[in-house]
């Protein structure tokens, strides 16, 4: 094979490898892109510090809470109230009830989603049970708190924000290091 062919084949093979890597790079790129733009309804996966935001009393935002366990997740999982009216800037606490009706311990992970997606950037969580995995012994229940506020900079076209949690069974990936730091277990 002549040298002219080899150099070209080398370059083209490099392109093939680069494009294969690019396919995988799309995964983190997608996450970063969604985090920066706030599209896709993904909220931040880390808590924000509670800044003393100015409360905007001139308007009220309706927050709707949806919670559902995934099909393979046997927990009962629901919000304490279905909807709440808040002023932007006010800090609120909302509790979610989780109950494990089965005989053995199960670890859950809640995954949040905000609709409309563009409002996700303006929904801040100071504390959330969704930041960590939640351990619950069989037959027990617990309250899982969420502390949040709506950014006063929320554009005026949004009057309702829906926060939805899907709870997944992640017992197989349980890391005992990070136990329920946010949930108060009661019962027993």
């Amino acid at each position: 094979m002549n040298a002219k062919h080899s150099t070209l084949i080398g370059k083209l093979s490099l392109l093939v490898v680069a494009m294969f890597a690019f396919g995988y790079a799309l995964v983190p790129l997608y996450d970063v892109f969604c985090e920066i733009t706030g599209i896709n309804g993904k909220t931040a996966s880390e808590p924000v510090s509670a800044e003393a935001a100015i409360v905007d009393t001139s308007r009220e935002i309706t927050i709707e809470f949806i919670a559902r366990p995934n099909q393979q997740m046997p927990w009962i999982f629901k919000p304490e109230v279905r909807r709440m009216r808040v002023h932007p800037g006010e800090i609120h606490v909302m509790n979610y009830l989780a109950e494990n009706p089965t005989g053995q311990a199960i670890v859950g992970q809640a995954v949040p989603s905000v609709s409309p997606g563009q409002a996700a950037l303006f929904f801040h969580k100071i504390e959330c049970f969704c930041f960590t995995q939640q351990y619950l012994a069989g037959g027990n229940d617990m309250l899982m708190p969420l502390q949040f506020y709506v950014d006063p900079a929320l554009p005026s076209q949004f009057s309702t924000i829906t926060l939805s949690y899907t709870l997944y069974d992640v017992t197989s990936q349980w890391q005992p290091g990070q136990q329920n730091d946010s949930a108060k277990e009661f019962g027993e």
Partner: protein, 528 residues
């Protein structure tokens, strides 16, 4: 005596080839490999077509008559996979193998051994895919787009075979594409400058780059599906922090350029046939080259038009809507150039020209329904309905497949040394062009009325249209048997074809005798 041996030796160099199966297994000759690709594609076309017949049989009447819903889903999935990866793509690769070296005055493809490999792994890929249908639980049934979580959480173990098969097909296409690029870049005859290249060569060069850019992304995607399913990764699983919508982004990043992989070489074929039978030079050669390149570049910026209903933000929707519509501009340039080429030409209407003309009309219909689908607000209504099915079958069947058939008729005299039977060819054309419209045109209407795709049963008001569509489908399937008849007849004999059977044809491939000798352009021609 010694002079005789030298003469023998010389002949041997030219015509010696192993006979029987060995000739085909070990061949590194571009013409042999081209024929293998074309025959394989034809076989897959009939296999995928048989599956389409099963689909149309079940949809002939509302209610479930012949197959189980899960088998129906396997049929739609396998039909798509086989037609895309088994029929259309290998057929274009076969044409590339046969024609590109002859068109640029090269003795063979640049990498003949790799060429042999890229063909011979292909039958194994499809064997694996077809075998998976006979395993317990059945074959892939998640649609050719294999969206997660259908292909991850809800699929059966045939998915592993599916992934393996796609990997092999991908490797085959990438090797083929590298071969095409190296051949075109390094092996052009002296004087064959870039802007003298036939458009079929140009479009294939650009297609090969598209293949190299997106087939690795597809390979990565199926690997992610495999690890999500079997190795506890969660690329597409929300429970582990993944996102099923990400699947669609990666898939369509591959998928949209893929549709141009299946249509750009078709543009090249039409750009060869129309000037021949209009007996005029192609109108706007340079603009054709630039239009092809712009379509290829734009194809990387439009993928999310398949995802308008996933809930994208308005500005992203607008971006993808406008870039998609922008593609209509270079595509329109091509259509106008073909029409301008025919303008005041001395036209004759042999079978290749008939298929090329049908391509121009019907592909444009498919293009227009594509523009309709690009309009985001109305796409919410059309999404996942038969309107989409109508759209992509117009561009792929009466587009890509018609161009392939046109190419076969156009170059058959060069390949076989015989003229095909013109009467039978015309019969094949008229049967095909009428039935293809009976088959796909009413799909627009049922789609607009709300009939969803990939569903084995439907509401009663769609019954008449579906019966009609199915009849069109059976007729189209039967019409293709005429094509096989023409091919067999032409390979076995027929009127002797001259080196240049078409009066208005231009290009190096017409300067070698018909049938093209086993080795052509051992000494490169001088292109003026």
């Amino acid at each position: 005596m010694s002079t005789v041996t030298t003469a023998d030796h010389h002949d041997a160099h030219h015509d010696h080839k192993p006979t029987g199966i060995k000739r085909w297994l070990f061949t590194t000759n571009h013409k042999d490999i081209g024929s293998l690709y074309l025959l394989f594609a034809l076989a897959m076309f009939f296999l995928g077509g048989a599956m389409a017949m099963v689909i149309r049989l079940e949809l002939f009447q509302p209610g479930m008559q012949f197959v189980e819903p899960q088998f129906f889903n396997q049929m739609t999935t396998m039909h798509g996979l086989i037609m895309v990866f088994g029929a259309v793509m290998p057929a274009f690769t076969g044409l590339a193998n046969w024609m590109i070296p002859m068109m640029i005055g090269a003795p063979d493809m640049a990498l003949p051994r790799m060429n042999n490999w890229s063909f011979w792994i292909l039958p194994f890929a499809f064997l694996i895919l077809i075998i998976s249908m006979f395993l317990p639980g059945g074959g892939p049934d998640f649609g050719w787009t294999f969206y997660a979580p259908l292909s991850t959480t809800y699929s059966n173990d045939s998915t592993a075979l599916f992934v393996f098969a796609i990997h092999i097909m991908g490797i085959s296409s990438i090797m083929g594409a590298i071969n095409v690029i190296v051949t075109i870049v390094n092996m052009r005859a002296p004087g064959m400058t870039w802007m003298k290249l036939p458009l079929f060569v140009w479009t294939w060069l650009i297609t090969a780059f598209l293949l190299i850019m997106v087939m690795p992304v597809l390979a990565g995607l199926v690997t992610m599906v495999l690890t999500d399913k079997y190795f506890a990764t969660s690329f597409f699983d929300a429970a582990g922090g993944g996102d099923p919508v990400l699947f669609q982004h990666i898939f369509w990043f591959f998928g949209h350029p893929e549709v141009y992989i299946m249509i750009l070489p078709a543009f090249g074929i039409i750009s060869a046939i129309v000037p021949t039978f209009a007996r005029k030079k192609l109108f706007g050669y340079a603009s054709m080259v630039y239009a092809t390149a712009s379509i290829a570049i734009l194809s990387f910026l439009v993928w999310a038009h398949h995802m308008f209903t996933t809930g994208m933000p308005v500005y992203a929707t607008l971006f993808f809507m406008y870039t998609t519509m922008l593609i209509a501009v270079p595509t329109g340039v091509k259509v106008f150039n073909w029409v301008a080429t025919m303008w005041r030409g001395a036209m004759t209407f042999e079978v290749p020209m008939m298929f090329a003309l049908a391509f121009i009309v019907l592909f444009t219909i498919g293009g227009l329904s594509g523009v309709m689908l690009a309009i985001a607000p109305v796409d919410f209504q059309y999404h996942d309905t038969y309107f989409v099915v109508a759209h992509f079958h117009y561009v792929l069947v009466s587009g890509a497949v018609f161009s392939l058939v046109a190419a076969a008729y156009y170059w058959l005299p060069k390949w076989t040394g015989h003229m095909y039977d013109e009467k039978l060819g015309q019969l094949h054309f008229w049967c095909s062009v009428i039935s293809v419209n009976l088959l796909f045109f009413p799909m627009h209407f049922v789609g607009l009325a709300g009939m969803p795709r990939r569903i084995p049963d439907y509401a009663l008001q769609f019954a008449d249209f579906n019966a009609f569509i199915s009849v069109g489908g059976f007729l189209f399937g039967l019409s293709q048997l005429i094509f096989v008849w023409v091919l067999v007849k032409c390979i076995r004999g027929g009127e002797k074809a001259p080196a240049k059977p078409w009066e208005g044809a231009e290009g190096l491939e017409w300067e070698v005798p018909s049938p093209a000798p086993y080795h052509t352009f051992d000494t490169p021609p001088q292109v003026k």
